[in-house]
């Protein structure tokens, strides 16, 4: 499992798909998507679709919580529990 690789890949996805017009430099891996207004009901679907496709995993409803998905760091930690990447 390549945590640094996951970190890079997830961050690249977020920059490309959620950050939109915002400066990448202002965005840290620990930053909450929700609190920074980066994510909406479509955005969270995009995050889940990205993870399920990229890592060939299935995310259960009860796993779709901010603790697992609301920042780059949280996602990387979640991927670690799923032992993928």
């Amino acid at each position: 499992m390549d945590t640094a690789g996951n970190q890079k890949k997830v961050r690249a996805f977020v920059v490309e798909n959620l950050l939109l017009g915002e400066e990448e430099n202002d965005f840290s891996d620990s930053q909450s998507f929700l609190e920074s207004g980066l994510i909406d009901s479509t955005g969270i679907l995009e995050v889940i679709a990205f993870l399920e496709e990229e890592y060939e995993i299935t995310i259960a409803d009860e796993e779709m919580v901010p603790d697992n998905l609301d920042s780059v760091d949280n996602i990387v930690a979640f991927l670690q529990t799923r032992r993928v990447g």
Binding site: L34, S41, T42, D61, V65, L69
Partner: protein, 338 residues
């Protein structure tokens, strides 16, 4: 709707939403006259009526302001909505009570021409391949009250044989179903503007404050209007006016529905976190800086649950920025008047 006296003493209650119904009616009636006739110089108003409480109250207010012969009521059923027949019947009963002959515009052929049904069904088939003719569907969200899970849209489909399938939507599927379904609200608005243009009337919009504030409307669809006479009223205040204005009882007692999907769909399973009266009070409390603890006490919810509703309100307001935005300019127009 009242709470007991101990709760009243210690905190907020549903009483905060009580309207002076006569004064509120008077204010709206005067405003309709002033905007439609004086500002817009239009001869009357077009109201699309759905049999729901909001459009019924708007129609009744327009009739009070302009007289029944200056209000054009449109019933716009389409082939497949869960409640089409019932809605049309309630709309007719409302029109009758107002002394107006409503006009029927069946929008099914417009929707077919636009590919509304076909495009939606093909988006659904991406997650439910067997979806086809005779099936019915709706989109649902999990409750925000029960956990802090992200609210992920699913499609629920019923086969003609009564089998139920529920499937989580991918981004393209979700956007595809919603985009196709939005043809319904947009077609209705297009039809309202056709009649308004033809009659030299203005178009009334029916969103209430809850819908307006939270962006529960379609841009260019039910969000589009020349005037919005109840957009400053909480949903429970709309009910109070309905009673005051003599809207038929069968309309006042009908539970709110989205009336857009082929399966019956409540507003809270698709959009709001709570039933409308509780949602009203949460929004009022948030608007007036009441903390989650106190609001929870009035509603029988925990502070944590109310916090989740508050966060959901904030999140919806962020999305509503796009829905409320006036067209953005890329420079200052020379001498434009408005």
């Amino acid at each position: 709707m009242g709470l007991n006296s101990e709760q009243k003493k210690s905190g907020i209650s549903f009483d905060v939403l009580e309207l002076d119904r006569t004064a509120a009616t008077e204010e709206i009636v005067t405003s309709i006259q002033s905007v439609v006739l004086k500002k817009f110089r239009k001869r009357g108003a077009v109201v699309g009526i759905s049999g729901g409480i909001d459009s019924s109250v708007v129609a009744a207010l327009c009739v009070r302001a302009l007289g029944p012969e200056k209000v054009h009521l449109l019933l716009m059923p389409e082939g497949e909505s869960a409640s089409t027949d019932e809605s049309t019947e309630l709309g007719r009963s409302l029109a009758k009570s107002l002394g107006v002959e409503p006009q029927l515009e069946d929008i099914t052929s417009v929707l077919q021409g636009a590919g509304c049904y076909e495009r939606r069904d093909s988006a659904i088939r991406e997650v439910i391949p067997e979806y086809g003719p005779g099936w019915k569907s709706k989109i649902v969200l999990p409750s925000v009250i029960q956990s802090d899970q992200f609210r992920i849209f699913s499609v629920v489909a019923h086969s003609p044989e009564g089998q139920e399938i529920k499937a989580r939507l991918k981004p393209e599927g979700y956007l595809g179903v919603v985009a196709a379904t939005n043809f319904k609200q947009r077609t209705r608005k297009m039809m309202e503007y056709f009649h308004a243009d033809r009659l030299n009337f203005a178009v009334a919009g029916t969103p209430n404050l809850l819908e307006y504030d939270q962006g529960f409307f379609v841009k260019g669809g039910d969000g589009l209007a020349d005037f919005k006479p109840i957009a400053h009223l909480y949903k429970s205040q709309v009910y109070q006016l309905a009673e005051h204005l003599g809207v038929p009882e069968e309309i006042c007692s009908r539970p709110p529905t989205t009336d857009t999907y082929s399966l019956p769909q409540s507003q809270e399973e698709f959009y709001f976190s709570l039933p409308y009266d509780q949602m009203d009070l949460c929004l009022w409390a948030k608007n007036h800086g009441v903390d989650a603890q106190e609001t929870g006490a009035a509603l029988g919810l925990s502070a944590e649950q109310v916090e989740r509703v508050y966060r959901d309100i904030e999140a919806k307001r962020r999305m509503a920025v796009y829905l409320h935005a006036q067209p953005a300019f890329s420079g200052r127009p020379d001498g434009a008047t408005s």
